[in-house]
Each structure stands twice: as C-alpha cells, then as structure tokens.
Amino acid sequence: MSNKILPLVLGAAMGAAATAAGATTLEDVKAKGHIQCGVSQGLPGFSNPDAQGNWTGLDVDVCRAMAAAVFGDASAVKFTPLSAKERFTALQSGEVDVLSRNTTWTMSRDTQLGLNFAGVNYYDGQGFMVRKDLGVTSALELSGASVCTNTGTTTELNVADYFRANNMPYEIVAFEKADEVVAAYDAGRCDVYTTDASGLYAQRLKLTNPGDHMVLPEIISKEPLGPVVRQGDDEWFNIAKWTLNAMINAEEMGVTSSNVDEMKSSDNPSVKRLLGVEGAFGEGIGLSNDWAYNIIKNVGNYEEAFNANVGPDTPLGISRGVNALWSNGGFLYAPPVR
C-alpha cells in the first residue's frame, strides 16, 4: 500500500484539474467558445503553422471540422503544439479537448492510457530515409547503421523490432523534438531517418538538399493515425468519431464545400440524412441537425482536405494509395448515417 501513496500525492495536481472539469467536454467546449486541439510542433501537411501562425494540415482539418460541427464556425479552435512525449498527458489532464497529432492507434494506448481513438484519418506505415550517395536500395542493407528518430513514438519500438528480427546491429539516436531529429540527420549524425512514411516526405522538405535523400521502399509497420479523445465521455467521443465519418461519407456521396448548398435539395436520401434535411441525427450527438452541413461547408470533405494538404499538388505530393475510399480500392470506409 505504501508504495502507492507517493505517486498518488504527486498526481494531485493532475487529479484536481480533472475533477475541476466536472462537466462534460461538450459543455466545457461550449462554455469556453472554442475547441482546444493538440497538434504537432510542425509537420508539413498534417499540422503546421504558417508565417502568420495559422495552422493548416490534414490533422488540423479534423479539429476545424469538429469546431464547425459544434459551433458552425471552423475557426472556433485553438491549437496547442505538443511533442510526442507530452501529447497523452496533455489530453489526459484536460489541457486539450482532442488530440489530432498523427498519433498511431495501438492497443496499449487505447486500453491503458485512458484514451479513445475516434477513427483513422490517415493510414500510414513506418519507412526509412537515407542519403542517396549511400547506395542503399533496401532497408535490409542497413546493418550497422545509426538511426535517428523521435522518442516516445511507436517508431522507436518498430525500428527496434525490425533490426532485431533481421538480426542487424544498429545504433538508435532518439530526440525529443522532430526538428532536432532533422537537424542531426542533416548534419550526418545518422545514416537513416525513420518515422511514418508521410512524415518522411514532410520532413524531407526541411533538409538542406531534399533531392539528396530518398525514402526506401520498405514499410515496416502499420500506423493508423487518427484523432484521440479521453475515455469516459461518450458524447464527445461520438462527436469526434462522426465528424471524421461525415467527411469520409461526404466524399463518397460527392458532397463538397462548393456544392453542399445545392446538394441540400438532392433527392438522394443518404445525402439528405447527412446534411440534416431528413431525420434528426445531430440530436443523437448533442448537436444541431446541420452539423455535417457545417463541416462540409466550412472545411470540406475528406478528399478536399487531403488534396489541399498532402495531395499530389502539394509539396508533399502523396497519392491517395491506401487512403482512397473503399470503393476506389483504399481503406477508407465510414459507417452510414442512418
């Protein structure tokens, strides 16, 4: 028993903060007038601030969509940049209402950390980036390499598993901040930079000579990335989950931010239900019935968010691949609104 006292005392502040919240997250959010959204410290395409401090990205759009669903205003959201290490504590302690920070859905995170994953907004996998002049064409040639990565990520564990499974010695150099990983890799401290493949493409843009580096073909893990909320508040969990589903469903139905007003008069009952013309689906998640209309009008559907932030026309130039709709051969499949 005595060995339980110390941690409990130390957690006092955290506990006090959590009880003070008391009300549900939705009530809290409505009372303060904005959603507090945990994002990365700068990952182009996913969550990245521009020179004016405006955040953009695929993960940012999830938060903006939630704000649109709750307030009808996609700008009613404030961002908290978090390191990989800080992110879960920030969410658990109530510092942020939702964490949308290229976070991998794993069993331990879902079950032991008091978190709920609201779905997947990007199917990713871990890859390796190396200098072209190393002449490496496969990750299996990386024996004896030093590997730079972030601490507190699934990446750190995957790379350990991969090198161990293939019986290759390696040296891990793990930094807390992504920018320092990039700087150390750029300086030549490591032969290899490993993180989620999307992250590799994004971080490559920050290197001195992006053209000198290549991403190896191997993808060594499953990294389903998605927004996360706290356990124990099903209403808020539903809002997060269905915001994402609404964006995916909208793409499937061909509803975009530009045609959403016309689509309101569509004859398609699925579209009518989604946009709140028929039925009262918004009530079920504690919102107004035009919740999904607001999301699509203010933020757009999944395709729009993808193309604007990470798609082929952006510096990242990522193709839809497995992140295409199920009907186009991808993994994206949202349950129906009915």
């Binding site: 110390l6 040296e171 030549g188």
Partner: protein
C-alpha cells in the same frame, strides 16, 4: 517560588485556557496539522478516483514489462528485451556518469580559471574574465545545442576520421573512439593491487605526517604514492601474465558505403551526445566555480600571505598550506550548490538525444502512460542524488572548517 505558592493556593491566578498562549499555540499547531492531513488525504483519494474513472493504469507492475526500445549508451548490459525497470536504471547510470564526469572537469576548469582571474599577467586575467562573462551569461540549453550542432558539423563525417595519440584515438561525427580494455581471468588481481596501493598510500601519508610532527623531517609522500598507485598494478599485470588486452576500434573503408566507418560495439566509444552534454555542463558550471574560487581566495586577507612569508615559507607551500585551506572554507558551501546545479542541469540531455534518466523515463512514460509513477521516480532519484552530494560536501566542509581549540 511565587509559582509554587500560587499552585498550592489552588491556582487561583491561572487565566482562562482561552487566553493561555501555550495552549493556544498547541491548538493552532494541531489545527494546522489536521488541515494538512485532511488536504493530503483528499488529494490522494481524488487522484486515485480520477485515475480509476479515466481508466488509466497505475501501480508499479509496468517496471517488469519488456521495454522494447533501444538505448544508444548503456553502462550495464541492456537490450530491447530488457524491462522498463532496467531501462530506467540505464538512464540513472547515464545521469550519474554525466554528473560525475561533468563535476570533475568543471572543478578543474573552474579552479584554473578562478586562479587565472587573479593572475598578475594582464592577458591571462582578462582571458579568464572574458571566459566567465561569456559563458555564464548564455543559457545552458543554447550552449548544449552549440556544442552538439555546431561542433558536430565541424568534425569529420561517419566515413572519415581524425586520429591522434599514435593512431589509437579517433574522432568523427559518431563519437570519440579508442581502445577498450578486455579483462581476462585473473585480472581481478590488478584491481586488488590498485586497492592495496591506495590503502598503502594513505597509511604512508599518515605516518609521514606523524613523523614530521615529531621530528620535522619530511617524506616525499606524493611521489611515493604515485609510484605505488601506478607501479603496483603494473607489476601485478606483468607477474600475472598480462591478463588484459586492448580491443582497438575497427575502421572499415572498403565495401558498400553504408558499411564504411567504425564498426558498432567494437572498441570504446564516447557518443557525441555525451561529449557535447558533458562539455557544455562542465564549461558552463566552471564559469560559476571560477567566481567562487576567486571570491574564496580574495576572502583570505593578505596579511596571511605576508605572515607565511615572514615564517620563511615559499610561495608554493604558502598557497597550499595557508591560503587554500582558509579559502576552502569560503569556497565549499557555494561549490556544493554548483555541483547540485550541474547534476540537475544534466536533465537537459533530453534535447540532444543523450539517454539520461529524464530522456529514458520520458520514453517509458510515453510507452506506459504511467506519468505519476515515472515523475515520482524522477523526483526521488534527483532528490537522493542531491542529498547524497550535499551530505558528502557537508562532511568535507566540516573537515575543512576552522577547528577552534
């Protein structure tokens, strides 16, 4: 006497309990303690309830689970299959290593610079002054970044090297490599010999002191001790048939480019993260120690030097036997604070990927989500380290303190 008279008279003069300052004092203290206990108890209950409600795991069981991540530098055997507890232990040892090496160099640099500041040579004293002002006025984190990122770019890349000391030490971006001693059977005798030499030096030193007190004759203690400490293990080494050899780092410069460079885990390697962190900590703290040393020496009045010279002591013994012992009384207490600062500042290691206690603990925290336990471990370890350092320095201070007769 008057008190007794009043008591025997049935204590008529006693004021009401309400006005008795002693009773009041006790009452308020009891109330304060009760409130503190109540608040503490509620905090504990509240936290437990919150953790339970949020479904966050708690307890110490996680320490035995498999860590699964690698650590670049470890003083004890560690692999990905080791437990979280072992990972934290590796982090703790790394913190200890940085603290000890950092304190060692900070003390040396600090004393040299502190004495240099008092030098009569204008250039030397100005240089020392510039060093102190420059270093202590730049935030430590920036200095760590400077050493890591600026110096990292200046040394050769992984596939080249700078060699020195007869080609036995090599520096490149992957670290400072050198030969590693490999101990074989029977090599423990060398350690035993070293121990005997150290004990013998102590005994000789005490004997020499006694003899000098009694007869006034001096004995070359320093040279004898040095000879013993180096000579005895060396003799043992040859007598036992050289049960130790050096493992030299292997530099590969042929074959595929990815395989070129030093082979991992062959020879002895100081990773650049360790070098940068230790250098930054030592140089930063040394600036403060230099000022402390200067203040300590200046606190000894000049009359002491003059008196010592009048007794016929030369400059060296004057400094060693008269000035320094008195200066140490002023130096030691603030020096202790600097040692504590250095130890605690070593937690900035996390910024440059050195796996110290905070860095490894942070990874464990993230993996297990058990923030309260990890933060508890952090606090307990830093507190213990600091208290042990303080206890040692207080003991040393007492030894050096003015003994009044």
């Amino acid at each position: 006497m008057s008190v007794m008279e009043q008591d025997s008279a049935g204590a008529p003069a006693r004021a009401s309990l309400l006005n008795d300052p002693k009773v009041r004092g006790i009452f308020y203290q009891v109330v304060l303690i009760a409130v503190l206990i109540f608040v503490g108890y509620n905090i504990v209950l509240n936290t437990a309830a919150n953790l339970e409600r949020q479904n966050i795991a708690s307890g110490w069981g996680f320490l035995e689970n498999t860590a699964g991540f690698g650590i670049i530098q470890s003083l004890v055997p560690y692999s990905e299959t080791s437990s979280y507890g072992q990972a934290l232990f590796v982090g703790f040892l790394n913190t200890l290593l940085v603290a000890i090496v950092g304190i060692f160099f900070a003390t040396i640099i600090g004393f040299v610079v502190g004495i240099a500041r008092l030098s009569n040579n204008w250039v030397i004293s100005r240089l020392a002054y510039c060093y102190v002002e420059l270093v202590r006025n730049v935030p430590l984190l920036l200095q760590i970044f400077f050493w890591y990122f600026a110096v990292l770019r200046a040394v050769p890349g992984k596939r080249e090297k700078w060699s020195f000391f007869f080609d036995s030490f090599h520096l490149n971006i992957a670290g400072l490599r050198g030969p590693k001693p490999i101990w074989e059977d029977g090599s423990y005798l060398i350690a035993v010999a070293l121990l005997i030499a150290i004990v013998a030096s102590f005994v000789i030193s005490r004997w020499a002191h006694k003899r000098q007190d009694a007869t006034g004759q001096q004995f070359p203690v320093f040279w004898t001790a040095l000879g013993l400490i180096i000579g005895l293990p060396l003799i043992t080494y040859f007598v036992t048939g050289m049960p130790m050899h050096l493992e030299h780092p292997v530099f590969v410069d042929t074959g595929p480019r990815i395989r070129q460079g030093f082979e991992l885990n062959v020879g002895f390697n100081l990773i650049p993260e360790f070098l940068a962190l230790t250098a930054a900590l030592a140089i930063y703290t040394a600036a403060f120690i230099a000022e402390i040393v200067r203040a300590g020496i200046q606190a000894v009045s000049h009359g002491q030097t003059e008196a010592s010279h009048a007794l016929g002591l030369r400059q060296g013994p004057t400094l060693r036997l008269v000035i320094i012992p008195q200066a140490m009384r002023v130096i030691i207490p603030p020096l202790t604070s600097q040692y504590l600062n250095l130890t605690k500042n070593s937690s900035l290691a996390v910024a440059i990927a050195f796996p110290d206690l905070v860095s490894v603990g942070g990874t464990v925290l993230n993996q297990t989500g058990q923030a309260i336990e990890i933060i508890g471990i952090w606090m307990a370890i830093y507190l213990t380290l600091s208290l042990v350092t303080s206890a040692f320095m207080n003991w040393y201070n007492q030894r050096m303190a003015l003994v009044e007769r």
